[in-house]
Amino acid sequence: MGEGEEQVKVLSQWPSPFAIRVLIGLEEKNVRYESLEENFASKTELLVQMNPIHRKVPVLIHNGKPICESLIILQYIDEVWPGSNSFMPSNPYDRALAKFWADFIDTKFLGTGIHGILKKTGEAQEEGKRYMLEYLGLLEGVLKEFSAGGSKPYFGGEQFGFLDIAFICHTCWFEAMETLGKWKIPWESEFPRLLEWMKKCRERESVHKIFPDPHKILEYAIKFREGYLRSN
């Protein structure tokens, strides 16, 4: 590594949708980076040093300085490496909407939907599935609006942007959620736009490179669920 060369590292964990989000962001901007895999059993000294408050991945370390929280990291990546592909919409109102829905995805969709299936059983899990369907319905509507009725491919319109990256990282867990919940999400009949959008996103080099093998995610999800239910 020479003098004046930029140093970009990511503290990561392969199944984490938040880490996947950051790696896709860096790939989209063609930033050279080194990914350091944190193990699940114990946190490295580097992680504790770089993210003392939360001690979680992902952490972006840019020339030795840490940036934490995946949506904040995405915005940082966009601002430091503007390039020709801005993640954020160009006007303040659309930016506010993108942030609103990204926050919705991480709190409601993940918290009540995905985690409702991953961490619950019986009627509580059924409720998780209902929430997931309700929220997918909302997001189908958002995609319709933001893609100008489907004439554009992404939540970012023509641009694979902030909200696309914020959401696509969770989709690699969907098959595992279907298996764990013993159900099938009615994509073709209820969420055809989201289905099309996912296909389009997966064709992107960044997503194709970073997305983990769905079988590995399922294996991980099963182990996670067993461990979680045992201790809760």
């Binding site: 940036i67 904040i72 990291i73 940082y76 601002e79 942030k99 609103f100 919705f104």
Partner: protein
Amino acid sequence: MATEGEKRQVKLLGATLSPFVVRVRIALALKGIDYEFIQENLKTKSELLLQSNPVYKQIPVLVHNGKPVCESMIIVQYIEEAWSNKARNLIPKDPYDRAIARFWAAFIDNKIFPSLRGVFTGQGEQLQKAVEDSVTNFLLIEEALRTNQCFAGKAYFGGDQIGLVDIALGGMSTFIKAVEKATETILIDPKKMPLLTAWMHRFCKSDGVKEVMPDPVKHAEYISARRATMISPPTAN
């Protein structure tokens, strides 16, 4: 002086005591933006609120030229960007400093507020745990004020002037004090958190803040009354 027409362009749906609404009012005041304040009754929400925030049906909602923006810290950043030519930047220019500000604003929303809510609604053991969590979280803020290069030695988290993190935390000032009073607990101990105490005092007295901060007496009465309705009386069986 804004015309009535100009005032109609910006509406804020809110309630005077809500710390989230206070945040937005501070941002609007610091930017010198005139607006129409629409006091919402949270038991019977207006059509405008339900239409403007169908997902959460919550205040605050900023309606700018008919278009709604929801979630207080998203609104504050929107205000900064939509009126970027107006005096006073609320958000740092440097991307790294900006990321740090956003990090601490998120900490306040995701850690501090939930622990405060736990104190507000808690009883017995739950209350005790929520108090401990709140104190732990505030100690982290105290340490950030002491050691973080972005904040240390400065009047505000935003440097010489109020910024994003000041608004995120400072908007909660009377809520914090009201909850302390109602539960007879100390969450921000001046002896253990001298920097945070001094910052809060300075913040609450600042121009743009003091005019929109809720009356601490009214806020304390309100919080006490709300807590009284949560304590269920012992039943006969």
